[in-house]
Point group: C2
Chain length 220, copies 2
DNA sequence: GTCTATAAATTGATAGAC
DNA sequence: GTCTATCAATTTATAGAC
């Protein structure tokens, strides 16, 4: 009987639950850092073991295979980001205030974790990736609520009659692209001036909101 | 003396120039397909050789190493895309017509090569990638011309006094994101309905232009 | 130029002692 | 649970025949 199977059947027989979690957590944190930086195929199990300060065998003891470990990490990261995003809607303001807060918070999260979106999008674009669909469906991402809010505002005559789906995509596009496209845009638009690009990102939220606002405001 | 060095010194001594180009071209096309699909670390030299219908050794004969081959491919793809984009400006219309044509053609190019932008952005985001900066600088991408055109229109009072750099970034964002974010947006916004997403992309150009137009139009 | 054969190094994964 | 040792398969790259 293999060890990982044995562990599944009789877990934690020789070590306290706390210590076990510590090691598992250490592995997860190291794996998160390496996978996000180098992607699934670029990451090496040895790298992860080194970063976690443990032996390579322990990775297999806890996660059986590289794919299993990756799945766990991806799901963890995606869920965390999705959760952060969904929590943004807990605002008591009107639709304009809600959107402004959303854009502001979303951009803040992205800027605090600038390499996460590229990691996620890159892996989602891998061909034959059923994992993606499964994880997305399993996440608590639910945009129906958002679409309903928008539709209600349209019906009430508070905003222009636009496509709620378009509104979502436009907000995501305007927020995400300056982050994932940074190496390109910083070079060809800002001539490689990192400081200037940071300044630009700092006021990006006002720009994005102004654009979104103009797309939903009814002309008088 | 190694073979590749010998070839650099005395190229094409035993085979006609035409045949040589054919083989080199075959390798390049195969490498392009594989690298774009799987990325640098995900691609395998054997895959490329198989696709090119030649032996693995020939890859090294022509390109010495995987990195060299990748650099060649990346530069080739980036230059082609950059060239396509720059050619879009050859329009004789007014600024609104120019922008509309640009958005329309850019989106058409992206939709015809939907996995190219993710390939480029992903590799550019790799840490310690001097290659990126070098290739970008070596390309014929020149946005100064674009910024000048915009500034001239602003000075002439034809459009609003906006930041030309923002205009560029917003156009790129609104065009590129629906392509590279497709696996995500198709799932969480269109509930996995591929047909609906294709329809959406088909009219995306009108949407993007409407937004861009509204950001530069002077209110009366 | 193109091939076969193989080196040399890496990597994911397992066995088994403690 | 954690370690050492090692396997088996893969992968880049080279040597050498033709």
């Amino acid at each position: 009987m293999t060890k990982w199977l044995n562990r599944l059947i009789k877990p934690n027989t020789q070590m306290s639950e706390k210590e076990k979690i510590n090691t598992e957590e250490k592995i997860l944190q190291a794996a998160e850092e390496i996978f996000v930086k180098d992607g699934h195929s670029g990451a090496r199990m040895q790298q992860i073991a080194d970063k976690a300060g443990i032996n390579k065998s322990l990775l297999h003891y806890y996660y059986r295979s590289k794919d299993k470990l990756f799945s766990t990490v991806f799901k963890f990261i995606f869920s965390k980001l999705a959760s952060d995003i969904m929590n943004i809607f807990d605002s008591e303001e009107d639709i304009f205030g809600k959107l402004e807060k959303f854009i502001e918070n979303y951009l803040r999260i992205l800027m605090k974790n600038p390499i996460i979106p590229m990691f996620i999008l890159n892996e989602l674009n891998k061909k034959g990736n059923n994992l993606a669909t499964i994880i997305i469906k399993g996440s608590n991402i639910n945009l129906n609520k958002f679409e309903e809010i928008i539709q209600k505002e349209i019906d009430a005559g508070n905003i222009k009659n636009i496509n709620p789906k378009s509104l979502i995509i436009n907000i995501l596009a305007l927020c995400v692209f300056p982050i994932i496209g940074r190496p390109l845009t910083e070079e060809i638009v800002f001539n490689g001036d990192t400081k200037k690009y940071d300044e630009y990102l700092g006021q990006r939220k006002d720009e994005v909101f102004a654009i979104i606002k103009s797309t939903i405001t009814i002309e008088k």
